[in-house]
Amino acid sequence: MRNNRLYAGLLAVGLLAAVSLAGCTSGTQEVQGGKEEGSSQEETSKAETGTSVLKGEIEIVTNVSEETFHVVNEILVNFMKENPEVKISYTTQGSDYEQLMKARMASNDLPDMFATHGWSVARYSEYLRPLNDQPWYELIEESFLRNIENGKGEIFVLPFNMDQGGIIYNKILLQELGLEIPKNWDEFLAACKLAKEKGWSGVFIAGKDSRQPANLLDIAATTYLISCEDKGYAAQLENGDFDWNNWAPVSQLLMDLKKEGYLNIDSVTCDPVDIPSRMADNSVLFLVSTSPDLIKQAQEINPDASYGMAPIPALSDDYQPAFCGGEREAYGIWKDTKNEELCLAILDYMAQPENVRSVCEASRKRSALKGVNPDLGTVAEDYEAYADVPIYPIFDRVYLPSGMWSTLKTIGSAIIGDEMTVEESVEIMKMDYETLRSQN
């Protein structure tokens, strides 16, 4: 009897002891995943020949998959070929990337370099080394700079490409309705009305993922609040004296779309997995999105599905449509890395035009650096047609305090779920704005 109880007890005590001891000393040691397995797979490959000046082992992590990942991997493989003493472990964590990164930030155990997918300033900047002193800094498009700068003008990443958000429209359906691309929201809603009469969905939202309605609010806010520069809302938001009643029209837009039935019937429960196949059905007129990649996906399913990208409708005839855009694939260096020189060299290598170009072509997004001319397929015509349209930074990343993206998600999904009124949403925006502002 004693035997067994002692055994169990010892085990429990042992575990607890190990756990508490470790707890006391946590944070003083760091272990980079030391055990290397000699397996060669598609994601990482190592090449060894000759000798060179640069050496070391580092870890790079990102959240993209497939094409973009393969392209960046190629770039790194080439780097390793030129620098055989260097071992790079490049992995992707897909959609769990953000969670994983948060846990790693909390334990102060970050990869040497990592992708910031749009959040270099808002979330990761405290852990990144400023990079204004790098040779490629001059190459960054000026109009893009403000998307990756913090309040002090510091940048923290090498940006490859940029997100561009606007409306995606169905070329065929629009033609059938005999309409031009809507230039302001009134025209937009009118188009939706005609679409509804024909039994189509005016705007498609896969609301099961609350990022979808939030995206709509975020993108619409660009023209409701920012591109109408004479109203000065941008400055007000940055100073803190924005009158939140001016947010109401944005919420109202979403509310109207839902109430008038311009959204797809299952807007609340549909999962984003289904977006390409529904687009391929040719029953969707518009999407409000930052993913032009959907156009290609829809076409793969149904070659007759033809969509294009257009700027966000303006507030009214007095204003012009605009795009919103921001950082997408971008890499920064952990400020506590032990391999700073190597990381900087890698960034430098990545910044070479051919490399940036291949990333842009793989992701079908515009380049954030000058002098790169990627071939972007069908979307290229759209980009070209709108080359002069101003691009404003993505609303919540610059004009809202960090953390309000989730507020947008909450009110977005509540509005389409008929659980919130416009006034309530304004209240919540105001409340969170003030709370989060005081936190930072």
Binding site: L15, L16, V19, S20, G23, E98, Q99, M101, K102, M105, A106, N108, R123, E126, Y127, G207, K208, D209, S210, I265, D266, V268, T269, C270, D271, D274, R278, S402, G403, S406, K409, T410, S413, A414, I416, G417, E419, M420, Q439
Partner: protein, 268 residues
């Protein structure tokens, strides 16, 4: 295990956002917020439904299934295997499968409805209905587990008892009530407690089927904690809810356990 708990308590007293190297202590503010939060109460209510609803259904069905499949008959082994099968599917995948069952457009259930001449319904659009659908999916997936615990329990009842009773003229329902069920009590206890804890902690299926929506009407405490930590960047509040959930489950399961174990003790 103890240290992380303490850390959790400590965390619940801060306003940490989950990744920043800095945070402030805010005392009991998170708990106060919890008391006034509509989202929290909905999650709490749902958690109770998920827990007790699933457990009740699973226990009843589990016992019935076990009784059915206890003695030999054609297809017994096959049935046992297949009924347990859904439990082997990872929650994430199960969630997606159930999404494909209930989705409005091209969903499997709606297809059957259309076949029978009805109108397709957006099943998950109503929060209340969605909660019960999730309960049923949970039951479908895990009733097999209850079943095998019950079968193991039934094995422990010597046939002689039942034979003696039927010789004495007891009918099947009588034998069930007075012999089988009481002797099955340890098995029932085990499975009820496990099911309850599993149901109260329900997470994967909800996430994959509704992500807590529409709005927040299908959140359980588990998914709420996940949401608060990762999506809402409110790690402090998330930890507060986590503490509550831990205590809550502890209280409920201890209580149920005491009740059931007293009954078991009464028997022996």
């Amino acid at each position: 295990m103890v240290y992380p708990l303490i850390y959790g308590v400590q965390l619940s007293l801060t306003n940490w956002n989950g990744y920043s190297p800095t945070y402030k202590y805010v005392g009991l503010a998170n708990y106060q917020k919890m008391i006034h939060d509509k989202m929290f109460y909905t999650a709490l209510k749902n958690t109770l439904i998920y827990g007790f609803g699933s457990t009740a259904l699973q226990t009843i069905l589990g016992i019935l299934y076990a009784l059915l499949l206890q003695k030999k008959f054609p297809g017994q082994t096959l049935a046992r295997v297949i009924i347990y099968l859904p439990a082997m599917i990872a929650s994430l995948i199960m969630g997606y499968i159930s999404y494909f069952l209930v989705q409005y457009n091209n969903g499997a259930i709606n297809d059957i409805v259309k076949l029978l001449g009805g109108q397709p319904v957006d099943w998950m659009a109503s929060g209340k209905r969605a909660v019960w659908i999730i309960v049923m999916i949970n039951v479908l997936q895990f009733v097999g587990k209850t079943m095998i615990i019950m079968i193991a329990g039934l094995q422990g009842i010597p046939d002689s008892y039942n034979e003696a009773a039927s010789i004495d003229g007891a009918s099947y329902p009588q034998r069930l009530r007075h012999i089988t069920l009481p002797l099955l009590l340890p098995a029932i206890t085990t499975s009820v407690v496990l099911n309850l804890i599993g149901g109260l902690k329900l997470f994967g299926i909800i996430l994959a089927t509704t992500s807590g929506g529409p709005g927040y009407s299908t959140h359980s405490l588990s998914t709420l904690i996940n949401y608060l930590y990762f999506q809402n960047q409110n790690a402090g509040y998330s930890a507060a809810v986590g503490m509550f959930m831990f205590l809550f489950i502890m209280v409920i399961s201890t209580f149920i356990r005491r009740v059931l174990e007293r009954k078991v003790a009464d028997l022996s």
